[in-house]
Amino acid sequence: MADIKTIIASRVAKELKDGDVVNLGIGLPTMVANYIPKGIEVIFQSENGFVGLGPVPDKGNENVDIVNAGAQYVSVIPGAQFFDSATSFGIIRGKHVDVTILGALEVDQKGNLANWIIPGKMVPGMGGAMDLVVGAKKVIIAMQHTQKGKHKILKECTLPYTALNVVDMIITEMGVMEITPGGIYLKEIRSEFTPEQVQAATGAELIISSDLKIWK
């Protein structure tokens, strides 16, 4: 069986539409690039300064002047463009990125997100995350449903916010959820789980779709 990260990444990939400009966060979100459905062409933006991000080159074939936002050596595809950081975030804030996919420490039912700091413990900085979630047309959180059993999807975030009212969708190994004005709407559930199990793993009340799809 595929591992949890692969399950999540491959499901997230199905949300992408042909022609979308997409920014992938570090870690699990980066894996989404490996599962783009056939016939769908997606253009990846890298916030350190380019559109048209391509695959990781083979060892020995790296161009040391091309790194992604996680400082890995990557490549560009034909039709790419490099630019400076002000232009890059102009693209991001200016709604030219269709989808941004990133991880979270906590998400709440209002679509508030916390993913950049655990006070007194981990202070990595927000990097481009605050701009990305505010600027992208659609924000998808790709993460494991719980952190060692502890709820990450909450009524209200307890950690400092990355941004307010920005999350559109949460995809975990348990299901696909949409943030709606009424709360968190469970749209699709993975066949391994029951709605009760997903609810138990969630710190906010879920609205279970009357037309709940099963995700195999």
Partner: protein, 226 residues
Amino acid sequence: MKNKTKTVYEAVENIKDGAVIMVGGFMATGTPEIIIDALVKKNIKNLTVICNDAGVPGRGVGKLLSNGQINTLIASHVGLNPEVAQRMNTDVEEDKLNCILIPQGTLAERIRAGGSGLGGFLTPTGVGTIVSEDKQVITIKGRDYLLEEPLRADFALIRGSVTDRFGNTIYNCSTRNFNPLMAMAADAVIVGTEKIVEIGELDPNFVMTSGIFIDVVVGGEKPWQI
């Protein structure tokens, strides 16, 4: 147009203890290592460094940090250099690092504003978060924005790929990042570059930073060895 090439030691001659320095680069890609090395050798202290991140130990701004030369670091992300957390949490008062975190887009735009004579700008980024503390919130057409102020420095250290003797510079691929912004936002700008060419060799359509912003050109930057 003037020939601005100098040795790296001449280039850093005026940088003193307590200087505010912008350093180009993203996780050290696009950071002028030879200028950083000269600052490490010079061992000036109490620097305020403005850089996207803290580099990596042994690379870019990370070298200045390891050598205890940075008093204040203004950056967007420091998680990939473990020394930052160590120095932020040290009990040795004189080693303590003051780290100011700014969203990456806001950092880039503040530097651009500093170089472009703007008094500030309104960004939706950071509204409702810690970042908004002590900042003015201005509502335009029903949406809230933070008023962010410009950022400038005494020196900017930038890294070119090809530079002519006047300072006109081209950056290769993702080495561009903060370099062209910082080149406009400091009182003195030093470019460390891989290849120096004669004035007139670069196509004026493709020059990314004009030599009018550059004070000193230093050759000898090398591609990073993996």
